[in-house]
């Protein structure tokens, strides 16, 4: 029988990050690999209860995010050793049944930066993020590094909107950067691409593929895939292996977790070629994109 998996989402599942998890889980369920139930918009206060409730219902694997409740989440896991927890976390795994994963799609961001660096005419690019937390910082820094790698002269602007959910505000932040000269925007937040679209400029998406949503605008995306992490976790649970480990690596480009998705022919051919070369290097392990979690300036 498929194992029962619960997703607990602190945000509504529209949120790009959660939607990646949600989609992977839905797909897995559709394939019959798992049985999937979920809760969304679960506040920090309620999160541990949701974990406990699912655990008591006999759910075998709980997928979610520990960011706001790192300590309590580990307490819950200790109380329910029969249940496997694999949660997004910036921290470490704990015990046999508490595994973690990070969101490392910076490889794709770096590669997209390499395209953007060659495409910018104003020599200014911009990034719009939610709040300066490590994983957001890492992503934006990687994008900036990709830009600088091919175009050391380029200027990189950063803005944080102070919240995870305010697409209209992300759009305003994007417009502000365009007004400040940026002609390519990296949108860590949804809404950024709308600014680029409005001004007929190009934009880069993050986590999911935004190109279908903004066909003329988003030419590249730093994709993050959750499926490899999920599959690894499911495999461990089915095999009765402990899940108390760090699953982050499964999300790396090298492991097929993340990647760049881009529209061919938008960037100059030589830029695409250089980027593809770098991509191969990352895959082979010859190159590692720097992971800088300091707040980008």
């Amino acid at each position: 029988a498929p194992i029962k998996v619960a997703g607990i989402h602190a945000s509504p599942v529209e949120n790009a990050w959660n939607s990646v998890l949600h989609k992977a889980l839905q797909d897995a369920a559709a394939e019959g690999a798992i049985e999937y139930v979920f809760s969304e918009g679960v506040s920090g206060t309620d999160y541990p209860r949701a974990m406990r409730e699912y655990a008591e219902q006999g759910v075998r694997l709980i997928i979610g995010e520990a960011y706001a409740v790192e300590k309590q989440a580990r307490d819950v896991a200790a109380d329910y050793p029969e249940t496997a927890f694999v949660l997004g976390s910036s921290g470490k795994e704990a015990g046999e049944n508490f595994g973690v994963f990070g969101t490392w799609n910076h490889d794709g961001a770096y590669l997209a930066g390499m395209l953007a660096g060659k495409m910018t005419k104003s020599n200014v690019v911009g990034s719009v993020g939610a709040i300066p937390i490590p994983e957001v910082n890492m992503l934006i820094n990687a994008f900036a590094a990709g830009v600088k790698a091919v175009n050391p002269e380029a200027k990189h602007l950063v803005a944080f909107i102070g919240t995870f959910f305010d697409p209209p505000k992300a759009r305003e932040a994007g417009l502000a950067q365009i007004d400040a000269g940026a002609d390519i925007l990296f949108g860590e937040r949804i809404g950024t691409a709308d600014a680029a679209k409005e001004r007929g400029l190009k934009s880069v998406g993050s986590l999911i593929d935004y190109t279908p949503r903004y066909p003329e605008t988003v030419f590249a995306n730093a994709l993050w895939g959750f499926r490899p992490i999920l599959d690894a976790a499911i495999a461990d649970v089915s095999a009765g292996n402990p899940v108390g480990k760090d699953y982050t690596a499964f999300g790396l480009l090298k492991e097929g977790g993340s990647d760049i998705a881009y529209v061919k022919g938008v960037a100059p051919a030589d830029a695409e070629a250089a980027m593809e070369a770098k991509r191969a290097e990352i895959k082979s392990g010859a190159f590692e994109v720097p992971r800088i979690t300091d707040e980008p300036k």
């Binding site: 509504p12 599942v13 529209e14 949120n15 790009a16 939607s19 949600h22 989609k23 839905q26 918009g41 911009g126 602007l157 950063v158 803005a159 944080f160 909107i161 102070g162 919240t163 959910f165 305010d166 697409p167 209209p168 505000k169 759009r171 305003e172 932040a173 417009l175 502000a176 950067q177 365009i178 007004d179 400040a180 949804i190 809404g191 709308d194 409005e198 999911i208 935004y210 949503r213 707040e295 980008p296 300036k297």
Partner: protein, 314 residues
Amino acid sequence: MSVVFDILASAGLWAAVLRIATPLILGTLGALLCERSGVLNLGIEGIMTFGAMIGWLAVYNGADLWTGLLVAALSGGVFGLLHAGLTVTLGLSQHVSGLGVTLFASSFSYYVFRLLVPVAGTPPTIEPFQPIDVPMLSSLPFVGPALFTQTPPTYAAIFLALALAYVIFRTPLGLAIRMTGENPHAAEAQGINPMAVRYGAVVAGSALMGVGGAFLTLSAFNSFFPTMVQGRGWICIALVVFASWRPGRALLGALLFALFDSFQLRLQTRLSGVVPYQIFLMIPYLLSIAALALMARRARVPQALMQPYRRGER
């Protein structure tokens, strides 16, 4: 200093001010109308959320954009009716009822959205309002791009502010509303039905709030996200006070707040991390409190605000 001047001198800033201000103008006018009749409507945050959801949903299901706004207005009116029923007919405590309406309207809109819109990644989009260039004016240097390249609801919001100012201060209806907010007993003695006036004002005000919310999904953005109203409703409550219950000043207040916000976004881009962004976000609240402290002595607060009116009770 020159950075500040640079930013202020860019037309883009002023265009952003108008865009950011639009939902605030609409929400503030709505809250102001309610309060002028003596009813505090803390349901605004929830009503804006529902307006954003339902307006978008209507357009997503094939209605045109203006119909979307209309649907949002109607839904706002329905919640206004609920609030009026609780506060005007029953005379329940207005802030408690308002908080109840906010809790209900927002959670209800998420629930409805989740049932009706299957999620797959980011929510689906609609084709939102497009900016229109006002003929002639939009080609003026600086002023043109700054002020005359907005979407229609923005022009409508500004017009509504002026229209509401006119209605409140220049028409018999406005006088009836003001008198009901000052002293419903006096209004009744003049043959005005204070209950009806309050119902009307709360329903109409809430309709404006609904439209303010819908602006977010039909013009500022093109899909609905739960929690996307992000406290804009509360800002409106502050702005009403800041505006000392005058529509013209509400317009100015909303523009001023939007100026802070768009300035902040631009300043960050230039000098990131110099001032914590929270400071900028606090400013409108602190300014409103300061304005209250300065004005309260010349109290022009509607005197019957938050006082239930029951016929035949004194």
